[in-house]
């Protein structure tokens, strides 16, 4: 017997669907002609702390600078060029994101759209005419956090659980360790790498291993470490954002990266029509407000006045430019 099956999606239904989509698309695209359209392309879900700092700053820009902001997350290398092109051709004048896994792709695409400004998180330099870069230059607050750790440790052993030995991670770990050693020359530093950017159960297990080896102040370069510190009742230092709320009892402070100065600068330049390819890295330094040590919150009462004074003095020295935190991007080794 021959039966004619009705296709699940009839042509008519499809056309109707397209019409609805188009109507919505046009409706939301009815932006003011002078509103700057900004888009962001992220390789990971926006929950990833590194990417989240960029996202949060762009949301702030949407509110305070009146930009129109769209974004795409979990864009793998294979789709990276396509999404970048869609945004560049869709009227966005500024495209931001993180390029680490797609450095070459991002640079190649940028060349095809000379009228669009591209600003990406990157471990290498900018490219003429329109590809600018930024990075998480937060080694200065990491050094300050290390000084606190060096003073707080009773076992003279501090640790850091980090992702992998890339420059962005190494310079934070090394600055943390250097800070601890400056104030306490008996300190030993331990480092563990989990081999990925996001695997909280593994990071937690690595932290527990360090704690069993005597670490009593731990730098949570990765997510998952603070939970181990809370479980074993030791001191933790957050990273990327103020993570005190994860465990106020145990998080003494956090090394915060604030992308707002970078985003503000880039958006103003693009608005003024004077954007040029450059390294915006300086806008993540403490001097520009792009990084800082988070408030002590619950620890404000627990930290001794001398430690606070020591940190404040060093902070002013960094802001005055009279103290420079060394940038050491060599792979840190456990002691």
């Amino acid at each position: 017997m021959v039966t004619t099956r009705k296709p699940f999606f009839t042509l008519r239904a499809l056309t109707a669907l397209l019409a609805v989509v188009a109507a919505f698309g046009l409706g939301s695209g009815k932006a003011n002609a002078d509103t700057l359209k900004v888009a962001a392309v992220f390789e990971t879900p926006i929950e990833e702390p590194w990417v989240n700092q960029i996202h949060v700053a762009l949301l702030q820009a949407k509110k305070e600078l009146g930009i129109e902001y769209t974004w795409a997350e979990s864009v793998k290398s294979a789709d990276f060029a396509r999404v970048m092109r869609e945004y560049a051709e869709g009227g966005n004048k500024l495209v931001m994101g993180d390029a680490f896994g797609a450095e070459r792709i991002a640079r190649r695409v940028a060349k095809d759209y000379p009228d669009v400004a591209f600003t990406f998180g990157s471990g290498i330099g900018p490219a003429e005419p329109n590809f600018a870069v930024f990075d998480n230059w937060i080694h200065e607050p990491a050094y300050l956090a290390g000084m606190i750790a060096g003073k707080l440790t009773k076992s003279n052993t501090v640790g850091a659980v980090a992702a992998m030995t890339i420059p962005e991670v190494n310079r934070l770990c090394n600055a943390f360790c250097a800070g601890a050693k400056e104030v306490n020359n008996k300190v030993k530093c331990k480092f563990s790498f989990i081999g990925s950017f996001f695997d909280p159960p593994k990071a937690k297990e690595a932290a527990l291993a360090q704690i069993e080896q005597g670490v009593d102040v731990i730098y949570a370069e990765r997510f998952g470490v603070i939970e181990a510190a809370a479980e074993r009742n030791i001191v933790a230092i957050g990273n990327m954002s103020d993570q005190s709320e994860l465990s106020p009892e145990h998080v003494v402070t956090s090394v915060v990266w604030d992308m707002w100065p970078t985003v503000k600068q880039v958006v103003s330049l693009v608005k003024a029509g004077v954007f040029s390819s450059q390294d915006f890295g300086q806008f993540s330094f403490m001097g520009k407000g792009g990084s800082f040590l988070a408030p002590y919150h619950a620890w404000d009462k627990k930290l001794s006045p001398e430690i606070k004074k020591m940190v404040d003095e060093r902070k002013s020295a960094i802001l005055d430019g009279t103290f420079r935190v060394d940038i050491d991007e060599s792979a840190p080794k456990s002691e």
Partner: protein
């Protein structure tokens, strides 16, 4: 020597059990479905879905056990879908399994975003706490190693003999094994082949879900992406290393857990100066080496990957 210093600590043994527990749970689940003749590659996605649904239900209900139940239930549903594809429709088990994994991963992240929005800090729950078994926990060395864990660990301890008993000592287990070896013979003996395979799959789904939820409710206290990170795929290898036997599967999981716990300790001890990638590789390397040495002659269930169609030879 440093390696022995690390191995002789109770912390190391406690850690290896923590790491091995969810793997053992999911590995035994996978063993059940493979014993019935279905390679369930939905494992990675179903574990992720278990982590998500378990966390979500626990977050809103305040009950961790309700979360666990939800994780098992969601695992059963998607294992049944796997059954529909591979048992009822007789499609390729590889393709269907990868499809179920992708579907479940997508659903997990989508639902999480739908329910929780875009928080900067992921919401969390108060996770399962360690329960020291009265009396037993006081035994020197063995106490802290074996008897001071979250309840799920004890349940997985109990699961291993239970699985062995079910598989080897009950008519149901015999039927299940026959279905995986020779479904034609099983059918002629009156065993409902398709239904047996569905049952095995649903058991596997429940155990995957629970294994996944272990990460979001016990090992960690939140659902995040990367919470499973390929651990499901590890279990596929552990089933082979465990030669499709519950006891050996559990041992395989313990071996993997031991090397993983050890490499983390060696990394931070600083005694052995090797690139950290080599340490991270160790558990995988050892699993492959052990598999090559111990499971080379292991025979997979004869009808693994073969769909059963009645009256077809």
């Amino acid at each position: 020597m440093e390696v022995f210093d690390q191995i002789l600590q109770t912390g190391f043994f406690a850690a290896l059990i923590r790491v091995a527990t969810p793997l053992a749970c999911a590995t035994i689940g996978e063993m059940f479905s493979e014993r019935a003749g279905v390679l369930n590659l939905g494992i990675e996605g179903i574990m992720l879905l278990g982590a998500m649904s378990g966390f979500t239900v626990a977050y809103f209900s305040g009950s961790l056990w309700l979360g666990m139940a939800a994780a098992a239930a969601s695992g059963i549903v998607f294992a049944a879908l796997m059954g529909l594809l591979t048992v009822t429709l007789g499609l390729s088990q590889h393709v269907s399994g990868l499809g179920v994994t992708m579907l479940c991963s997508g659903i997990s992240f989508y639902c999480y975003r739908l329910i929780f929005g875009q928080p900067s800090q992921p919401p969390n729950v108060q996770p399962f706490e360690s329960v020291a078994l009265p009396g037993l926990a006081a035994i020197p060395f063995l106490g802290p190693v074996l008897f001071n864990h979250v309840v799920l660990v004890y349940l997985v301890f109990a699961l291993v003999p239970l699985a062995a008993w079910l598989l080897y000592r009950t008519p149901w287990g015999l039927a299940l094994r026959t279905v995986g070896e020779n479904p034609q013979a099983a059918a002629s003996a009156g065993v409902p082949v398709a239904w047996m395979r569905y049952q095995a799959l649903m058991i596997s789904g429940a155990l995957f879900g629970i294994g996944g939820a272990y990460f979001s409710l016990a090992q960690f206290n939140a659902f995040t992406f990367g919470v499973i990170s390929g651990r499901g795929w590890v279990c596929i290898a552990l089933v082979v290393l465990g030669r499709w036997d519950p006891w050996r599967c559990a041992l395989a999981a313990l071996l993997f857990g031991a090397v993983d716990a050890l490499q983390l300790r060696l990394q931070s001890s600083g005694a052995i100066d090797l690139p950290y990638q080599l340490f991270l590789m160790l558990p995988f390397l050892l699993t492959v080496v052990a598999m090559a040495m111990l499971s080379r002659n292991a025979r997979a269930p004869a009808s693994l990957l073969v769909p059963y169609r009645r009256e077809e030879r």
